[in-house]
């Protein structure tokens, strides 16, 4: 009969919190536990050794809710300690491999955020019934009417003229933009701006019409907003935020309250990256629509330039989720804030419009 031990261990009977200092010995197929008030023998197949974690004592579950605790280095002389959750424990002893695969995973995650999430959001958004989106649009407009907007003061003739232009653009559009409606409002605090409300409403503020003067340029901005509608940017934005939110919750769910304080930043960066992509997509759509109606894409560049000059802090045409533009002229420009900005820098967009015009 082979014997091993004795080793020092703690024994708990499971009925009380009494801690018994014991000696454990292995004799053939038996585990013998002996102390001042303890004497028992357990067949080793009934000694259930738990996977270890870190350097905490290893737990050996014994019949009758009893527990033996011993240091891993001691216990392994008596009983084999299972390699916990196999993979996790093995990885922990190969941190080099962990770092290598982590780098791979980060790269994959980047690809996923860059292409996977936008793709999934686009596919889902195209299957959302327009009636559902329309409901949101009505509510958003009611809210804006309640807090920010007032009734438009544009002359009926001007409104009619712009509506005719809008109808012409819409005539060349297909899909979600083909049934769009145009609304005029006094923009109040928001100033010169235009919005695409999901479900098919474009809102232009009086200030925008007055600032741009030339109705053709207003039409260029409206074409950009039709691009937001056509590409379902409203729904895609909320879908992308939800997907990113759920994923980061799953990954950072393991983090602590303290770290969630700083987890918001990367999420915000991803979000503004998506917004910039939407603006570019809407710009490209506008170029196409302008050309289809025998206009120059340059009109959009000119309109953006005028808006930029009027309030450099922000560029034009926001989607409804954007905050009201800053009014002060000395605020940081879109370029200063770089990645935090939800819109591409205006000079870049103006250049793109010029390029599209050629």
């Amino acid at each position: 009969v082979t014997t091993a031990g004795p080793i020092a261990a703690d024994f708990f009977d499971g009925r009380s919190s009494a801690r018994h200092l014991v000696q454990a010995t292995r004799e053939g197929n038996l585990l013998r536990i002996a102390g001042a008030a303890v004497a028992l023998e357990v067949p080793v197949e009934h000694a259930n050794v738990q996977p270890r974690i870190g350097r905490t004592p290893v737990r050996v579950l014994l019949p009758g809710n009893a527990l033996l605790l011993a240091e891993a280095t001691e216990l392994e002389r008596l009983l084999p300690i299972p390699r916990s959750r196999g993979l996790a424990h093995r990885l922990e002893s190969h941190l080099g491999a962990v770092f290598a695969s982590l780098a791979g995973v980060v790269a994959a995650a980047w690809l996923f955020v860059q292409f996977g999430v936008p793709w999934a959001a686009r596919e889902i958004a195209q299957r959302i019934p327009p009636e559902m989106e329309r409901d949101i649009a009505t509510q958003s407009l009611n809210q804006l009417d309640g807090y920010v907007f007032s009734r438009s003061n544009l002359l009926p003739e001007r409104q009619a003229k712009l509506r005719a232009l809008f109808a012409e653009l819409r005539g060349s559009a297909r899909g979600a933009a083909a049934n769009a409606q145009l609304e005029f409002r006094d923009g109040g605090l928001i100033g010169a701006n235009a919005f695409a409300l999901p479900g098919g409403t474009v809102v232009a503020t009086d200030q925008l019409v007055v600032l741009l003067r030339d109705d053709e340029r207003v039409a260029a901005v409206l074409a950009h907003e039709l691009g937001h509608l056509e590409h379902r940017h409203g729904s895609r934005q909320i879908l992308q935020s939800s997907i990113i939110g759920l994923l980061s919750a799953a990954i950072a769910g393991d983090a602590s309250t303290l770290t969630t304080v700083v987890v918001g930043l990367p999420t915000m960066l991803i979000h503004s990256g998506y917004s910039r992509d939407f603006e570019r997509e809407a710009d490209r759509y506008a170029y196409g629509l302008l050309e289809a109606t025998q206009r120059s894409p340059r009109l959009l560049g000119e309109a953006l330039e005028q808006l930029e000059n009027a309030h450099p802090a922000r560029t034009s045409s926001c989607s409804p989720d954007d905050a009201p533009p800053q009014r002060k002229r000395h605020g940081p420009t879109a370029e200063d804030l770089g990645y935090l900005s939800t819109h591409p820098a205006t000079p870049e967009r103006i250049r793109d419009a010029e390029a599209a015009a050629r």
Partner: protein, 386 residues
């Protein structure tokens, strides 16, 4: 709250000496110790992270169990360590339910925003259940010296603690909506928007106090019951001071930042995150140390045991500041280090006082608890711990 606090349900306990100097002869103190090492936990943490990402989050319950086992297992009292027994499969089920519920909530509030408040009200009856189940799941899956903790709180008690939270959604439904025909009323409308958050801030200390009291008064270690003698008024004192501190800090830091922005825009903007970190660390250091001391020092366990907590607001704020900077500057790689040193600080400032025999506790009856409650709580960000 996970890593950063000693899970309070695993702490068998008693209120420490009252502040008065006429204290009875000091009972022997058994200090808590945390023996985790940052380097060692880093390995566990990074493997957890890797496997969680690779499995698109499905591994996260196993990761959570490993993390909790590490932190409980390295927390020592009187020669024995605590243990965590949560079943990853139970946690996974809970998490899946929570993800579905959260997804549904997000969709409804986006596509039918006017029903958001109604939906919250409809879900309200589930919240006390959620709270009770969370405490029960954590308690039943925690042990010390092979004896499980337990929680016997009732739905009705939790409802009594939580009802003031209903004011938010109720106000949102009752308060008049903006009237587009009368622009003159708009300023008043904006004021109405602030009513609900204001009321919520007023009731928050009450809810927090009642939930903590429910937690501790219905917890047990084996068959030994816990008692907490803290009062709602004591919570209000802490939070009123925190409110004053909040206003003062916003004023001072805002002024400082404003001056910097006026002088040099670039530096001013670069300093915003720094100021934010210091602000968060100061507020968290203050409230957590005060609430922790209040609750622990008022807690007793059958058998003449009391807890003694000696957290210092300034030390905790320093600790949080350094942690946050380290985490930000290393893009998160110092999270394990931060978690370990926070756990060590908290353990070193907690002790068990009593002349009795730690061997004398008897086992209670335990039952299995599903994890849905706890996982819902985490998903909806119900931070119930200290």
């Amino acid at each position: 709250l996970s890593d950063l606090a000693l899970p309070s349900d695993e702490v068998p306990a008693q209120p420490a000496l009252p502040a008065s100097s006429a204290a009875p002869p000091a009972a022997p103190l058994q200090p808590f110790r945390f023996q985790g090492k940052a380097q060692e936990y880093f390995g566990i943490w990074i493997v957890n992270l890797l496997l969680t990402i690779v499995t698109l989050g499905l591994y996260s319950p196993w990761a959570k169990v490993r993390r909790k086992r590490y932190f409980y297992g390295n927390t020592w009292l009187a020669g024995s360590n605590f243990e965590y027994h949560g079943n990853p499969v139970a946690i996974l089920k809970g998490r899946l339910i929570a993800v579905v519920a959260f997804g549904a909530y997000t969709l409804v509030t986006h596509y039918w925003p006017r029903y958001g408040a109604l939906l919250l009200l409809a879900m309200a009856p589930a919240v006390p259940w959620l709270v009770v189940r969370t405490f029960a799941f954590n308690a039943v899956n925690s042990s010390y010296r092979n004896l499980r903790f337990g929680f016997r709180g009732r739905y009705r008690e939790a409802a009594r603690a939580l009802w003031p939270l209903l004011v938010g959604p109720v106000l949102a439904l009752v308060l008049p909506q903006a009237d587009p025909e009368h622009p003159a009323k708009r300023v008043a409308d904006m004021g109405i928007l602030l009513v609900a958050p204001g009321v919520l801030a007023l009731v928050y200390p009450y809810v927090l106090a009642k939930v903590q009291l429910l937690h501790l008064n219905r917890s047990r270690y084996g068959t030994a019951a816990m008692h907490c003698s803290a009062t709602v008024g004591q919570f209000y004192r802490i939070y009123i001071l925190a409110g004053i501190m909040f206003a003062g800090l916003v004023f001072i830091l805002g002024l400082l930042l404003g001056i910097l922005v006026a002088v040099t825009l670039g530096i001013g903007i670069a300093l915003v995150p720094l100021v934010y970190i210091v602000f968060v660390a100061l507020m968290m250091g203050y409230t957590r140390s005060r609430v922790g001391n209040l609750v622990f020092n008022a807690t007793a366990l059958d058998g003449g045991w009391r807890l003694r907590s000696t957290l210092k607001a300034r030390e905790l704020a320093n600790l949080y500041t350094v942690n946050l900077f380290a985490i930000v500057l290393t893009l998160g790689f110092m999270i394990p280090w931060a978690a370990v040193r926070t756990a060590r600080y908290r353990a070193e400032h907690l002790a068990l006082a009593g002349a009795g025999d730690l061997d004398a506790f008897a086992a209670g009856s335990e039952r299995e608890i599903g994890a849905a409650g706890e996982e819902m709580g985490e998903m909806f960000d119900v931070d119930l711990s200290l």
